[in-house]
Amino acid sequence: MKDVAVLGVGMYRFGTWYDVSNATMGREAGMAALRDAGLSFRDVQAAYVGHIFAPVMTGVRVMKEFGLTGIPVQHVENASATGSAAFREACLAVAAGHYDVVMVLGFDKMTQMIQQSSAGTSAENLEDAILPAAFFALWATRRMHERGMRAEHLASIAAKNFNNGALNPMSQRQPDKHITAEKVLGARMVAWPLTTMMSCPIGDGAACAIVGRADLAKKLRPDRPIVRVTASSLQSERYVPGHLFVGPVVGPAQMTIDTSKVVYEEAGVGPQDIDLVQVHDAFAIEELEYYELLGLCKPGEAEGCIERGDFELGGRVPVSTDGGLIARGHPGGPTGLAQIWETTLQLRGEAGKRQVEDAKIGLCHMMGGGSVCAIHILERD
Protein backbone atom coordinates (compact mmCIF):
# COMPACT_ATOMS: atom_id res chain seq x y z
CA MET A 1 0.00 0.00 0.00
CA LYS A 2 1.43 3.40 -1.00
CA ASP A 3 1.47 6.67 0.90
CA VAL A 4 -1.26 5.97 3.41
CA ALA A 5 -0.64 7.05 6.99
CA VAL A 6 -2.38 6.96 10.36
CA LEU A 7 -2.80 10.68 11.05
CA GLY A 8 -4.37 10.32 14.46
CA VAL A 9 -5.81 7.83 16.95
CA GLY A 10 -8.19 8.05 19.89
CA MET A 11 -10.01 5.73 22.27
CA TYR A 12 -12.77 5.64 24.82
CA ARG A 13 -11.49 3.23 27.45
CA PHE A 14 -12.99 -0.25 27.17
CA GLY A 15 -15.03 -1.28 30.20
CA THR A 16 -18.53 -2.05 31.44
CA TRP A 17 -20.14 1.35 30.93
CA TYR A 18 -23.83 0.67 31.47
CA ASP A 19 -24.74 4.37 31.55
CA VAL A 20 -22.64 5.59 28.61
CA SER A 21 -24.12 5.60 25.10
CA ASN A 22 -22.50 4.64 21.83
CA ALA A 23 -22.87 8.29 20.78
CA THR A 24 -20.87 9.52 23.77
CA MET A 25 -18.14 6.89 23.47
CA GLY A 26 -17.91 7.36 19.69
CA ARG A 27 -17.77 11.16 19.93
CA GLU A 28 -15.07 11.14 22.58
CA ALA A 29 -12.89 8.61 20.75
CA GLY A 30 -13.39 10.51 17.47
CA MET A 31 -12.61 13.93 18.93
CA ALA A 32 -9.50 12.49 20.63
CA ALA A 33 -8.32 11.14 17.26
CA LEU A 34 -8.97 14.45 15.49
CA ARG A 35 -7.06 16.37 18.17
CA ASP A 36 -4.24 13.84 17.94
CA ALA A 37 -4.09 14.37 14.17
CA GLY A 38 -4.27 18.16 14.44
CA LEU A 39 -7.46 18.20 12.36
CA SER A 40 -11.07 19.32 12.72
CA PHE A 41 -14.11 17.38 11.55
CA ARG A 42 -14.34 19.90 8.65
CA ASP A 43 -11.24 18.23 7.22
CA VAL A 44 -12.78 14.73 7.21
CA GLN A 45 -13.93 13.78 3.70
CA ALA A 46 -15.45 10.35 4.42
CA ALA A 47 -16.16 8.05 7.34
CA TYR A 48 -16.26 4.27 7.76
CA VAL A 49 -18.12 3.19 10.87
CA GLY A 50 -18.24 -0.24 12.48
CA HIS A 51 -20.44 -1.80 15.15
CA ILE A 52 -21.80 -5.30 15.69
CA PHE A 53 -24.43 -5.16 18.41
CA ALA A 54 -26.19 -1.85 17.72
CA PRO A 55 -29.20 -1.68 15.34
CA VAL A 56 -28.96 -0.64 11.68
CA MET A 57 -28.40 3.11 11.11
CA THR A 58 -26.54 3.52 14.41
CA GLY A 59 -23.26 4.39 12.70
CA VAL A 60 -24.74 7.17 10.60
CA ARG A 61 -26.60 8.52 13.62
CA VAL A 62 -23.55 8.48 15.89
CA MET A 63 -21.56 10.35 13.21
CA LYS A 64 -23.99 13.28 13.65
CA GLU A 65 -22.28 13.92 16.99
CA PHE A 66 -19.37 15.48 15.07
CA GLY A 67 -21.63 17.83 13.05
CA LEU A 68 -23.56 17.37 9.82
CA THR A 69 -21.24 18.10 6.90
CA GLY A 70 -22.74 15.79 4.28
CA ILE A 71 -19.73 13.48 3.94
CA PRO A 72 -20.22 9.86 2.85
CA VAL A 73 -20.68 7.61 5.88
CA GLN A 74 -20.37 3.88 5.24
CA HIS A 75 -21.16 1.10 7.68
CA VAL A 76 -18.72 -1.82 7.71
CA GLU A 77 -19.42 -5.05 9.58
CA ASN A 78 -17.22 -8.13 9.79
CA ALA A 79 -17.91 -9.55 13.29
CA SER A 80 -14.85 -9.23 15.54
CA ALA A 81 -12.83 -7.92 12.60
CA THR A 82 -15.28 -5.05 12.04
CA GLY A 83 -12.89 -2.28 13.11
CA SER A 84 -10.05 -3.82 11.10
CA ALA A 85 -12.25 -4.18 8.01
CA ALA A 86 -13.43 -0.55 8.30
CA PHE A 87 -9.80 0.55 8.67
CA ARG A 88 -8.90 -1.41 5.54
CA GLU A 89 -11.70 0.23 3.52
CA ALA A 90 -10.47 3.68 4.58
CA CYS A 91 -6.88 2.83 3.66
CA LEU A 92 -7.92 1.49 0.25
CA ALA A 93 -9.99 4.63 -0.44
CA VAL A 94 -7.06 6.91 0.43
CA ALA A 95 -4.59 4.74 -1.53
CA ALA A 96 -6.92 4.90 -4.54
CA GLY A 97 -6.85 8.68 -4.35
CA HIS A 98 -10.54 9.13 -3.54
CA TYR A 99 -9.94 11.01 -0.28
CA ASP A 100 -7.14 12.78 1.60
CA VAL A 101 -8.55 12.40 5.12
CA VAL A 102 -10.88 9.64 6.32
CA MET A 103 -12.28 8.85 9.77
CA VAL A 104 -12.61 5.22 10.88
CA LEU A 105 -14.80 4.83 13.95
CA GLY A 106 -15.75 1.70 15.87
CA PHE A 107 -17.91 1.41 18.96
CA ASP A 108 -20.08 -1.16 20.70
CA LYS A 109 -21.98 -1.91 23.86
CA MET A 110 -21.63 -5.62 24.43
CA THR A 111 -23.17 -5.16 27.90
CA GLN A 112 -26.40 -4.11 26.21
CA MET A 113 -26.29 -7.10 23.86
CA ILE A 114 -26.00 -9.42 26.87
CA GLN A 115 -28.89 -7.67 28.64
CA GLN A 116 -31.16 -7.81 25.58
CA SER A 117 -29.83 -11.12 24.26
CA SER A 118 -30.05 -9.64 20.76
CA ALA A 119 -26.92 -11.00 19.10
CA GLY A 120 -28.87 -13.30 16.81
CA THR A 121 -28.81 -16.08 19.35
CA SER A 122 -31.90 -18.21 19.72
CA ALA A 123 -32.79 -21.50 21.31
CA GLU A 124 -33.92 -22.68 17.86
CA ASN A 125 -30.45 -22.42 16.39
CA LEU A 126 -28.42 -25.61 16.13
CA GLU A 127 -25.19 -23.68 16.56
CA ASP A 128 -26.05 -21.86 19.77
CA ALA A 129 -25.37 -24.89 21.94
CA ILE A 130 -21.66 -24.33 21.37
CA LEU A 131 -20.15 -21.29 23.11
CA PRO A 132 -17.17 -19.58 21.46
CA ALA A 133 -15.14 -20.63 24.52
CA ALA A 134 -15.99 -24.28 23.79
CA PHE A 135 -14.89 -23.95 20.18
CA PHE A 136 -11.49 -22.56 21.15
CA ALA A 137 -11.18 -25.09 23.98
CA LEU A 138 -11.29 -27.74 21.23
CA TRP A 139 -8.20 -26.10 19.72
CA ALA A 140 -6.53 -26.34 23.12
CA THR A 141 -7.32 -30.04 23.66
CA ARG A 142 -6.04 -30.86 20.19
CA ARG A 143 -2.87 -28.86 20.78
CA MET A 144 -2.26 -30.77 24.03
CA HIS A 145 -2.64 -34.02 22.09
CA GLU A 146 -0.39 -33.03 19.18
CA ARG A 147 2.27 -30.84 20.81
CA GLY A 148 2.17 -31.58 24.52
CA MET A 149 0.88 -28.13 25.40
CA ARG A 150 -0.21 -27.72 29.03
CA ALA A 151 -2.80 -25.39 30.57
CA GLU A 152 0.15 -23.57 32.20
CA HIS A 153 1.22 -22.29 28.76
CA LEU A 154 -2.19 -20.72 28.24
CA ALA A 155 -2.09 -19.28 31.76
CA SER A 156 1.30 -17.69 31.01
CA ILE A 157 -0.11 -15.97 27.94
CA ALA A 158 -3.14 -14.67 29.84
CA ALA A 159 -1.02 -13.48 32.78
CA LYS A 160 1.26 -11.62 30.37
CA ASN A 161 -1.71 -9.90 28.78
CA PHE A 162 -3.21 -8.94 32.16
CA ASN A 163 0.13 -7.46 33.21
CA ASN A 164 0.44 -5.56 29.90
CA GLY A 165 -3.11 -4.28 30.42
CA ALA A 166 -2.04 -2.87 33.78
CA LEU A 167 0.29 -0.54 31.84
CA ASN A 168 -2.40 0.67 29.43
CA PRO A 169 -4.76 3.43 30.61
CA MET A 170 -7.33 2.36 27.96
CA SER A 171 -7.38 -1.29 29.06
CA GLN A 172 -10.57 -2.74 30.51
CA ARG A 173 -8.68 -5.01 32.91
CA GLN A 174 -5.98 -3.08 34.79
CA PRO A 175 -4.95 -5.32 37.68
CA ASP A 176 -3.28 -3.44 40.54
CA LYS A 177 -1.20 -6.50 41.46
CA HIS A 178 1.09 -8.65 39.32
CA ILE A 179 -0.95 -11.51 37.85
CA THR A 180 0.61 -14.96 38.02
CA ALA A 181 -0.11 -18.02 35.87
CA GLU A 182 -1.33 -19.78 39.05
CA LYS A 183 -3.98 -17.12 39.53
CA VAL A 184 -5.16 -17.57 35.92
CA LEU A 185 -5.31 -21.36 36.33
CA GLY A 186 -7.34 -20.97 39.52
CA ALA A 187 -10.01 -18.75 37.95
CA ARG A 188 -13.44 -20.18 37.18
CA MET A 189 -13.43 -22.88 34.47
CA VAL A 190 -15.43 -21.92 31.36
CA ALA A 191 -14.66 -24.75 28.95
CA TRP A 192 -11.79 -27.03 29.95
CA PRO A 193 -8.92 -26.05 29.91
CA LEU A 194 -9.97 -22.40 29.42
CA THR A 195 -10.72 -20.35 32.54
CA THR A 196 -12.44 -16.95 32.69
CA MET A 197 -9.02 -15.29 32.93
CA MET A 198 -7.92 -16.99 29.68
CA SER A 199 -10.98 -15.42 27.99
CA CYS A 200 -11.76 -11.86 26.93
CA PRO A 201 -14.27 -9.95 29.09
CA ILE A 202 -17.62 -8.47 28.09
CA GLY A 203 -17.32 -4.74 27.62
CA ASP A 204 -18.16 -1.45 25.94
CA GLY A 205 -15.95 1.11 24.28
CA ALA A 206 -14.94 3.06 21.19
CA ALA A 207 -11.82 3.60 19.12
CA CYS A 208 -11.02 5.84 16.18
CA ALA A 209 -8.28 6.24 13.61
CA ILE A 210 -7.86 9.11 11.18
CA VAL A 211 -6.30 7.78 7.99
CA GLY A 212 -4.93 10.00 5.26
CA ARG A 213 -2.25 10.85 2.71
CA ALA A 214 1.20 10.27 4.17
CA ASP A 215 2.47 13.71 3.06
CA LEU A 216 -0.25 15.31 5.18
CA ALA A 217 1.10 13.54 8.25
CA LYS A 218 4.39 15.38 7.92
CA LYS A 219 2.65 18.75 7.41
CA LEU A 220 0.18 18.31 10.27
CA ARG A 221 2.56 16.94 12.86
CA PRO A 222 6.19 17.64 11.86
CA ASP A 223 7.14 16.95 15.49
CA ARG A 224 6.71 13.17 15.28
CA PRO A 225 7.43 10.22 12.96
CA ILE A 226 4.99 9.27 10.21
CA VAL A 227 3.20 5.97 10.83
CA ARG A 228 2.49 4.40 7.45
CA VAL A 229 0.11 1.58 6.62
CA THR A 230 2.34 -0.49 4.36
CA ALA A 231 0.15 -3.57 3.91
CA SER A 232 -3.46 -4.65 4.30
CA SER A 233 -5.13 -7.96 3.61
CA LEU A 234 -8.53 -9.41 4.32
CA GLN A 235 -9.35 -13.01 3.45
CA SER A 236 -12.20 -15.42 3.93
CA GLU A 237 -11.83 -19.18 4.20
CA ARG A 238 -10.36 -21.42 1.54
CA TYR A 239 -11.78 -24.95 1.58
CA VAL A 240 -9.69 -27.58 3.33
CA PRO A 241 -10.85 -31.11 4.19
CA GLY A 242 -12.45 -31.24 7.63
CA HIS A 243 -13.84 -27.73 7.25
CA LEU A 244 -16.53 -27.11 9.88
CA PHE A 245 -19.64 -25.60 8.34
CA VAL A 246 -21.77 -25.63 11.49
CA GLY A 247 -20.79 -24.26 14.86
CA PRO A 248 -17.27 -22.91 14.53
CA VAL A 249 -16.39 -19.32 15.36
CA VAL A 250 -13.49 -19.07 12.97
CA GLY A 251 -12.29 -21.24 10.18
CA PRO A 252 -9.19 -23.19 9.27
CA ALA A 253 -5.80 -22.14 10.63
CA GLN A 254 -4.70 -21.91 7.01
CA MET A 255 -6.49 -18.55 6.70
CA THR A 256 -4.08 -16.71 9.03
CA ILE A 257 -1.09 -18.27 7.21
CA ASP A 258 -2.48 -17.20 3.83
CA THR A 259 -3.39 -13.68 4.96
CA SER A 260 -0.04 -13.06 6.63
CA LYS A 261 1.78 -14.23 3.50
CA VAL A 262 0.02 -11.49 1.51
CA VAL A 263 0.90 -8.68 3.94
CA TYR A 264 4.51 -9.78 4.37
CA GLU A 265 4.89 -9.76 0.61
CA GLU A 266 3.15 -6.41 0.18
CA ALA A 267 5.20 -4.73 2.91
CA GLY A 268 8.41 -6.41 1.74
CA VAL A 269 9.17 -7.66 5.25
CA GLY A 270 9.21 -11.02 7.01
CA PRO A 271 8.06 -12.09 10.45
CA GLN A 272 11.64 -11.68 11.71
CA ASP A 273 11.41 -7.93 10.96
CA ILE A 274 8.32 -7.31 13.11
CA ASP A 275 8.93 -5.45 16.40
CA LEU A 276 5.51 -5.89 18.00
CA VAL A 277 2.29 -7.77 17.26
CA GLN A 278 -1.39 -7.52 18.23
CA VAL A 279 -3.55 -10.63 17.65
CA HIS A 280 -7.14 -11.81 18.10
CA ASP A 281 -6.53 -13.31 21.54
CA ALA A 282 -10.20 -13.67 22.51
CA PHE A 283 -8.94 -16.85 24.18
CA ALA A 284 -5.34 -17.56 25.17
CA ILE A 285 -5.08 -20.64 22.92
CA GLU A 286 -5.66 -18.37 19.92
CA GLU A 287 -2.64 -16.23 20.72
CA LEU A 288 -0.50 -19.38 21.05
CA GLU A 289 -1.61 -20.67 17.64
CA TYR A 290 -1.12 -17.28 15.98
CA TYR A 291 2.54 -17.14 17.11
CA GLU A 292 3.14 -20.02 14.71
CA LEU A 293 0.61 -19.13 12.01
CA LEU A 294 2.05 -15.60 11.71
CA GLY A 295 5.56 -17.07 11.51
CA LEU A 296 6.78 -15.55 14.80
CA CYS A 297 8.12 -19.02 15.58
CA LYS A 298 8.23 -22.40 13.82
CA PRO A 299 5.40 -24.93 14.15
CA GLY A 300 5.75 -26.79 17.44
CA GLU A 301 7.96 -24.13 19.03
CA ALA A 302 5.30 -21.93 20.64
CA GLU A 303 5.42 -23.67 24.03
CA GLY A 304 9.20 -23.30 24.28
CA CYS A 305 9.02 -19.63 23.24
CA ILE A 306 6.40 -18.97 25.93
CA GLU A 307 8.64 -20.61 28.55
CA ARG A 308 11.51 -18.34 27.42
CA GLY A 309 9.35 -15.19 27.54
CA ASP A 310 9.80 -14.42 23.84
CA PHE A 311 6.45 -12.61 23.54
CA GLU A 312 6.59 -10.61 26.79
CA LEU A 313 7.40 -6.90 26.87
CA GLY A 314 11.18 -6.87 26.61
CA GLY A 315 11.15 -10.25 24.86
CA ARG A 316 12.10 -11.14 21.28
CA VAL A 317 8.81 -9.92 19.75
CA PRO A 318 6.23 -8.59 22.24
CA VAL A 319 2.63 -9.66 21.50
CA SER A 320 -0.57 -8.06 22.81
CA THR A 321 1.41 -5.16 24.24
CA ASP A 322 -1.74 -3.26 25.24
CA GLY A 323 -3.21 -6.26 27.08
CA GLY A 324 -4.83 -7.83 24.02
CA LEU A 325 -8.48 -8.83 23.86
CA ILE A 326 -8.02 -10.69 27.16
CA ALA A 327 -7.15 -7.56 29.18
CA ARG A 328 -7.64 -4.44 27.04
CA GLY A 329 -11.03 -5.87 26.07
CA HIS A 330 -13.09 -6.80 23.04
CA PRO A 331 -16.37 -4.86 22.75
CA GLY A 332 -16.67 -5.84 19.05
CA GLY A 333 -16.70 -2.93 16.58
CA PRO A 334 -13.81 -0.94 18.08
CA THR A 335 -11.47 -3.84 18.86
CA GLY A 336 -9.47 -3.81 15.62
CA LEU A 337 -9.06 -0.04 15.91
CA ALA A 338 -7.72 -0.39 19.46
CA GLN A 339 -4.94 -2.48 17.89
CA ILE A 340 -4.23 0.39 15.45
CA TRP A 341 -4.26 2.85 18.40
CA GLU A 342 -1.71 0.76 20.29
CA THR A 343 0.55 0.11 17.31
CA THR A 344 0.52 3.78 16.27
CA LEU A 345 1.51 4.95 19.77
CA GLN A 346 4.22 2.29 19.96
CA LEU A 347 5.71 3.29 16.59
CA ARG A 348 5.71 6.95 17.64
CA GLY A 349 7.41 6.04 20.93
CA GLU A 350 4.42 7.28 22.93
CA ALA A 351 3.39 4.02 24.64
CA GLY A 352 4.65 4.96 28.10
CA LYS A 353 5.55 2.11 30.47
CA ARG A 354 4.73 -0.57 27.89
CA GLN A 355 6.89 1.01 25.17
CA VAL A 356 8.69 -1.51 22.95
CA GLU A 357 12.20 -0.16 22.51
CA ASP A 358 12.87 1.36 19.07
CA ALA A 359 9.71 -0.15 17.57
CA LYS A 360 9.70 0.38 13.78
CA ILE A 361 7.28 -2.21 12.39
CA GLY A 362 4.04 -3.45 13.97
CA LEU A 363 1.52 -6.07 12.85
CA CYS A 364 -2.19 -6.13 13.71
CA HIS A 365 -4.13 -9.39 13.25
CA MET A 366 -7.86 -9.86 13.71
CA MET A 367 -10.25 -12.72 13.10
CA GLY A 368 -13.93 -12.17 12.42
CA GLY A 369 -16.47 -14.93 12.96
CA GLY A 370 -17.90 -16.52 9.86
CA SER A 371 -15.02 -16.25 9.17
CA VAL A 372 -12.45 -13.73 7.95
CA CYS A 373 -8.89 -12.77 8.81
CA ALA A 374 -7.65 -9.17 8.56
CA ILE A 375 -3.98 -8.21 8.91
CA HIS A 376 -2.30 -4.80 8.67
CA ILE A 377 1.35 -3.84 8.85
CA LEU A 378 2.24 -0.36 10.13
CA GLU A 379 5.71 1.12 9.77
CA ARG A 380 7.42 4.17 11.17
CA ASP A 381 9.38 6.36 8.76
Partner: protein
Protein backbone atom coordinates in the same frame (compact mmCIF):
# COMPACT_ATOMS: atom_id res chain seq x y z
CA UNK B 1 -34.85 -39.56 29.33
CA UNK B 2 -37.71 -38.92 26.98
CA UNK B 3 -40.59 -41.33 26.83
CA UNK B 4 -40.82 -43.52 23.76
CA UNK B 5 -44.37 -42.45 23.04
CA UNK B 6 -43.72 -38.74 22.56
CA UNK B 7 -43.16 -37.43 19.04
CA UNK B 8 -39.63 -36.10 18.50
CA UNK B 9 -38.86 -33.07 16.33
CA UNK B 10 -35.37 -31.83 15.38
CA UNK B 11 -34.25 -28.43 16.75
CA UNK B 12 -33.71 -27.53 13.09
CA UNK B 13 -34.80 -29.56 10.08
CA UNK B 14 -32.42 -30.78 7.37
CA UNK B 15 -29.37 -31.72 9.44
CA UNK B 16 -30.04 -35.19 10.83
CA UNK B 17 -32.77 -37.83 10.65
CA UNK B 18 -35.19 -38.42 13.52
CA UNK B 19 -36.22 -42.11 13.29
CA UNK B 20 -39.71 -43.02 14.57
CA UNK B 21 -38.19 -45.83 16.61
CA UNK B 22 -36.28 -44.21 19.51
CA UNK B 23 -33.81 -47.11 19.62
CA UNK B 24 -32.69 -46.43 16.03
CA UNK B 25 -29.73 -44.00 15.90
CA UNK B 26 -30.02 -40.88 13.72
CA UNK B 27 -28.24 -40.49 10.41
CA UNK B 28 -26.56 -37.36 9.08
CA UNK B 29 -28.01 -35.73 5.97
CA UNK B 30 -25.00 -35.07 3.74
CA UNK B 31 -24.20 -34.10 0.17
CA UNK B 32 -21.63 -35.82 -2.04
CA UNK B 33 -20.05 -34.00 -4.95
CA UNK B 34 -20.46 -36.15 -8.08
CA UNK B 35 -17.45 -34.46 -9.70
CA UNK B 36 -14.73 -34.60 -7.01
CA UNK B 37 -16.27 -37.01 -4.48
CA UNK B 38 -16.01 -34.66 -1.45
CA UNK B 39 -18.75 -35.09 1.20
CA UNK B 40 -20.32 -32.18 3.05
CA UNK B 41 -22.42 -31.73 6.17
CA UNK B 42 -24.77 -29.99 6.19
CA UNK B 43 -26.22 -30.41 2.72
CA UNK B 44 -25.36 -27.88 0.04
CA UNK B 45 -26.08 -27.24 -3.65
CA UNK B 46 -22.63 -26.32 -4.95
CA UNK B 47 -19.44 -28.21 -4.09
CA UNK B 48 -17.31 -26.04 -1.78
CA UNK B 49 -14.16 -27.70 -3.07
CA UNK B 50 -14.48 -27.87 -6.86
CA UNK B 51 -17.57 -25.63 -7.34
CA UNK B 52 -19.43 -28.35 -9.27
CA UNK B 53 -23.21 -28.14 -9.31
CA UNK B 54 -23.48 -31.93 -9.83
CA UNK B 55 -24.16 -33.16 -6.31
CA UNK B 56 -26.22 -35.91 -4.65
CA UNK B 57 -27.89 -35.98 -1.25
CA UNK B 58 -27.53 -39.05 0.96
CA UNK B 59 -27.80 -40.19 4.57
CA UNK B 60 -24.75 -41.57 6.37
CA UNK B 61 -24.32 -43.41 9.67
CA UNK B 62 -23.55 -41.32 12.73
CA UNK B 63 -20.30 -43.10 13.59
CA UNK B 64 -16.95 -41.38 13.62
CA UNK B 65 -13.66 -40.63 15.36
CA UNK B 66 -13.24 -37.98 18.08
CA UNK B 67 -10.88 -35.25 16.81
CA UNK B 68 -11.04 -33.01 19.87
CA UNK B 69 -13.22 -32.37 22.93
CA UNK B 70 -13.90 -30.10 25.87
CA UNK B 71 -16.31 -29.91 28.79
CA UNK B 72 -18.29 -26.69 29.21
CA UNK B 73 -19.00 -25.63 32.80
CA UNK B 74 -22.23 -23.77 31.97
CA UNK B 75 -25.79 -24.99 31.36
CA UNK B 76 -26.54 -26.00 27.76
CA UNK B 77 -28.24 -23.06 26.04
CA UNK B 78 -31.93 -23.61 25.32
CA UNK B 79 -32.14 -26.84 27.32
CA UNK B 80 -34.56 -27.64 30.15
CA UNK B 81 -32.90 -31.02 30.78
CA UNK B 82 -31.45 -31.18 34.33
CA UNK B 83 -28.54 -33.27 33.03
CA UNK B 84 -27.44 -30.20 31.03
CA UNK B 85 -27.50 -27.78 33.97
CA UNK B 86 -24.09 -28.64 35.36
CA UNK B 87 -22.42 -28.51 31.98
CA UNK B 88 -21.91 -30.63 28.88
CA UNK B 89 -19.21 -32.05 26.67
CA UNK B 90 -18.49 -30.66 23.20
CA UNK B 91 -16.51 -32.43 20.54
CA UNK B 92 -15.55 -32.57 16.89
CA UNK B 93 -16.10 -35.94 15.26
CA UNK B 94 -14.72 -36.98 11.88
CA UNK B 95 -17.10 -39.12 9.81
CA UNK B 96 -15.33 -41.72 7.63
CA UNK B 97 -16.73 -39.98 4.52
CA UNK B 98 -14.87 -36.75 5.46
CA UNK B 99 -17.17 -34.27 7.17
CA UNK B 100 -16.10 -33.05 10.63
CA UNK B 101 -19.07 -32.45 12.91
CA UNK B 102 -19.06 -30.27 16.01
CA UNK B 103 -21.72 -31.25 18.54
CA UNK B 104 -22.39 -31.79 22.23
CA UNK B 105 -21.06 -35.02 23.76
CA UNK B 106 -22.78 -37.38 26.18
CA UNK B 107 -20.68 -38.09 29.28
CA UNK B 108 -18.20 -36.44 31.59
CA UNK B 109 -14.77 -34.94 30.94
CA UNK B 110 -12.97 -38.15 31.91
CA UNK B 111 -14.99 -40.22 29.43
CA UNK B 112 -13.42 -38.62 26.37
CA UNK B 113 -10.14 -39.19 24.58
CA UNK B 114 -8.95 -38.11 21.15
CA UNK B 115 -9.18 -40.91 18.59
CA UNK B 116 -12.00 -42.86 20.24
CA UNK B 117 -15.01 -44.10 18.26
CA UNK B 118 -18.23 -42.16 18.75
CA UNK B 119 -21.89 -42.87 17.97
CA UNK B 120 -24.47 -40.16 17.25
CA UNK B 121 -27.69 -40.15 19.29
CA UNK B 122 -30.63 -37.82 19.77
CA UNK B 123 -30.87 -35.86 22.99
CA UNK B 124 -34.01 -34.10 24.24
CA UNK B 125 -33.58 -30.42 25.09
CA UNK B 126 -37.17 -29.54 26.07
CA UNK B 127 -40.82 -29.93 25.08
CA UNK B 128 -42.31 -27.51 22.58
CA UNK B 129 -45.81 -25.98 22.75
CA UNK B 130 -47.29 -28.99 20.92
CA UNK B 131 -45.88 -31.33 23.58
CA UNK B 132 -43.25 -32.76 21.23
CA UNK B 133 -39.70 -33.48 22.32
CA UNK B 134 -37.25 -31.02 20.71
CA UNK B 135 -34.09 -33.02 19.98
CA UNK B 136 -30.51 -32.16 19.13
CA UNK B 137 -27.85 -34.55 17.85
CA UNK B 138 -24.90 -35.44 20.09
CA UNK B 139 -22.16 -38.08 20.21
CA UNK B 140 -21.49 -40.73 22.83
CA UNK B 141 -18.25 -42.73 23.18
CA UNK B 142 -18.74 -46.34 22.06
CA UNK B 143 -18.22 -48.47 25.18
CA UNK B 144 -16.49 -51.52 23.70
CA UNK B 145 -13.69 -49.40 22.28
CA UNK B 146 -12.43 -48.14 25.65
Amino acid sequence: MSTATRTRVPIKAGFFSVPDDPTTPPKFLVTRCDSCGEHFWPRRTICARCLSEQTSDLEVDGRGTLYSYTFVHFPLFGSMNVEHMEGYGVGQVDLPQGPRIQAPLAGKQGDFRIGQQMQAELDTLRQNDSGHDVVIVRFRPIEEQS
